[in-house]
């Protein structure tokens, strides 16, 4: 176990290093003089001097990387020359919204996927299984940006439900009920995509598990169906489910970006798109770095949880 964790940790550090190099190098993809593009409307001799000091633009590219990374480690992601605010502050304000949407959507997705997958697995190819199979397959082909537009059209515009449409976001601290209402559509939209993946993965894994001998053994001992499903079959199958959840995070983020953008919810996705449109490159770079490292860390944590659930994996 310890050896496994150490090995994964070395991998993790390697991956974060690659991410940092990639994020750093983004600035150099900008056409022409990067300083002029980054400063944009804030181009003045004072700002230019600040930027050169921050990025070390007149030094070699390797030195620039070390200047940049030592700032990042200290939590200094630079100051946006367009909005005159610290990139780190902007990110800290937006990040909780993303986490809230993702958390809500995952609760919904698991709450729907686990019981339905169990129901399907109990009688594979039965009527319920077929209906759920066809439904999940259809949902698989509807991207989140279409779901959210249609939901806004029907629920917010046609039915006229309050606090749920575009630009209705209220922070959790101000009024938590309205906050949850305003996040209902994005959470639901993202939950659909996750539900389909979790349902399909858990269903096929449960069907395989239920054919194992220890299940037959449990049945012959007269253990109730309910207990067999939850205690005997779910635990081995939950490894596949957790694996799918870990992989799903990246896609969830991108889906979240689109949904936030449409509903004008000021999370990281909305901030990122606004920053791209304003050519606020330091902010874009900061968000890309934070989000990438976040995804990798979440994957690492999921790997760790999987190992606790099924310790055989680390021994192989």
């Amino acid at each position: 176990m310890l050896r496994y964790v150490i090995r994964r940790l070395v991998m993790l550090i390697g991956i974060i290093f690659v991410i940092s190099v990639g994020s750093f190098y983004l600035i150099h993809l900008l056409p022409g003089d990067p300083a002029a593009v980054i400063l944009g409307t804030g181009d003045s001799p004072v700002n230019r001097a600040k930027l050169y000091k921050l990025l070390g633009l007149n030094k070699s590219i390797i030195e620039q990387y070390f200047i940049w990374i030592s700032n990042v480690v200290k939590g200094n992601l630079g100051i946006s020359f367009i909005s005159q605010t610290s990139v780190a502050t902007t990110i800290r304000a937006a990040l909780p919204i993303d986490l809230e949407i993702m958390g809500l959507s995952q609760i919904l997705a698991f709450a729907a996927a686990i019981p339905l997958a169990m129901r399907s697995a109990r009688k594979p190819d039965g009527l319920v299984d077929r209906i759920l199979g066809a439904t999940s397959f259809t949902l698989l082909s509807i991207p989140p940006f279409i779901i959210i537009v249609l939901l806004v059209l029907f629920i917010s515009i046609k039915l006229g439900v309050q606090n749920i449409g575009v630009a209705s976001y209220v922070s959790f601290g101000t009024n938590w009920i309205v906050n949850l209402e305003s996040l209902a559509l994005p959470a639901f939209t993202l939950a659909i995509g996750s539900f389909v993946v979790y349902y399909r993965v858990l269903r096929s894994d449960m069907i395989a598990t239920l054919q194992e001998e220890f299940i037959t053994m449990a049945r012959s001992k007269g253990i109730s169906q309910r207990r067999i499903m939850w205690r005997h079959a779910f635990r081995p199958s939950s490894v596949a489910l957790l694996g799918a959840a870990g992989v799903n995070i990246g896609g969830l983020l991108a889906g979240g970006f689109v949904v936030q953008y449409l509903l004008a919810i000021p999370g990281l996705g909305y901030t990122l798109i606004a920053a791209i449109n304003d050519s606020d490159y330091l902010l874009v770079q900061g968000i890309v770095l934070v989000v990438s490292v976040g995804v990798v860390l979440i994957n690492f944590i999921f790997d760790f949880i999987i190992n606790i659930v099924d310790p055989r994996i680390s021994r192989e």
């Binding site: 991410i19 990639g22 397959f137 806004v152 694996g243 983020l253 991108a254």
Partner: protein, 298 residues
């Protein structure tokens, strides 16, 4: 290395999503629905390729006498807020989706597939090195990377979008092809061919390639569907081809502002996109179960 990235690697689980119910006969028939889907796919491709030859209206022509009109004989799908014919725009819009989907997968398979085959066939140090590199990139959230590169690498063009998504898909293709090849490279007939003195080139082209083709093709179709979705999301965020060139994604995005007045405008491109994705997913899934390939079995 294999224990580090072995079959239990959580990221691999997603590819094993396929029914594990025992099937009575091995190659179940493809079914009528499968051929309907193939027909729809073919229709889409023909429409995209011959859009400028077909008797369609100009997708950029703005007729201010017919703004936000519903479907009629003159405008089959109605017109948008600038009086442009939605039917023509949907057909022309398929060009972007199909070109990006196919183009990106050509790059992804062009680089990923030969590397994956070679690594799994040769094994040894080459395999260890390429697999490690690929898994590092696989851990990187590709979607964020694509958004990041496209937002910095201006001005955006279709070629750049295809290139960026294509390169981002290489590690994924590599993993699928490598795993598929690994399972086959140890089979008796491969060893028999080696014993008979067949060249590596011959074994790879004549023995390995035909056997990994089914999983390759089914993954290719599902891959195209994924790329088309991604392009739609990018268009939505304003990171794909620039308007007025129609694409399904940017049509849906533009429809947001007139959602209440003209719901047709969001309906038709959404429908076209969803049907296209459904058809690709269905054909891919059907082929996979027809040839009975699941990664669990590999």
């Amino acid at each position: 290395m294999s224990e580090l990235f072995g079959a239990n690697s959580p990221s691999q689980v997603i590819l094993s999503d396929s029914s594990l119910v025992e099937r009575p006969e091995k190659n179940e028939p493809l079914g009528v629905l499968f051929w309907i889907c193939v027909g729809w796919l073919a229709l889409n491709i023909i429409g995209a390729v011959f859009a400028n030859v077909l008797p369609l209206q100009n997708p950029l022509f703005q007729d201010y006498n017919f703004v936000n009109s519903g479907p009629s004989l003159h405008h089959l799908f109605g017109t948008d807020d600038l009086g442009r014919d939605i039917f023509a725009r949907v057909v022309y819009g398929s060009r972007v989706s199909i070109a990006v989907g196919a183009g990106a997968m050509v790059i992804g398979f062009g680089i990923g597939a030969p590397l994956g085959m070679l690594a799994a066939y040769r094994r040894g140090r080459f395999d260890t090195i390429t697999t490690t590199i690929m898994y590092v990139f696989l851990a990187f959230p590709a979607i964020i990377a694509v958004i990041a590169v496209l937002s910095f690498w201006t001005p955006r063009s279709m070629t750049k979008i295809i290139l960026v998504i294509g390169l981002a898909s290489v590690p994924l293709v590599y993993r699928v092809i490598r795993t598929a090849t690994l399972a086959i490279a140890t089979k008796d007939y491969i060893i028999a061919a080696k014993v008979q003195g067949a060249t590596d080139r011959r074994i790879m082209m004549k023995e390995l390639l035909p056997n990994i083709a089914p999983i390759g093709i089914s993954f290719l179709l599902i891959g195209i569907a994924t790329v088309v979705t991604l392009e739609g999301a990018l268009a939505f965020l304003g990171l794909s081809v620039n308007p007025p060139t129609p694409s399904w994604g940017n049509m849906i995005n533009e429809s947001r502002t007139v959602l209440a007045e003209n719901p047709w405008l969001v309906l038709f491109p959404s429908l076209a996109l969803c049907l296209f994705l459904l058809v690709l997913n269905f054909i891919g899934d059907r082929l996979r179960s027809h040839f009975d390939v699941t990664e669990v079995k590999l």
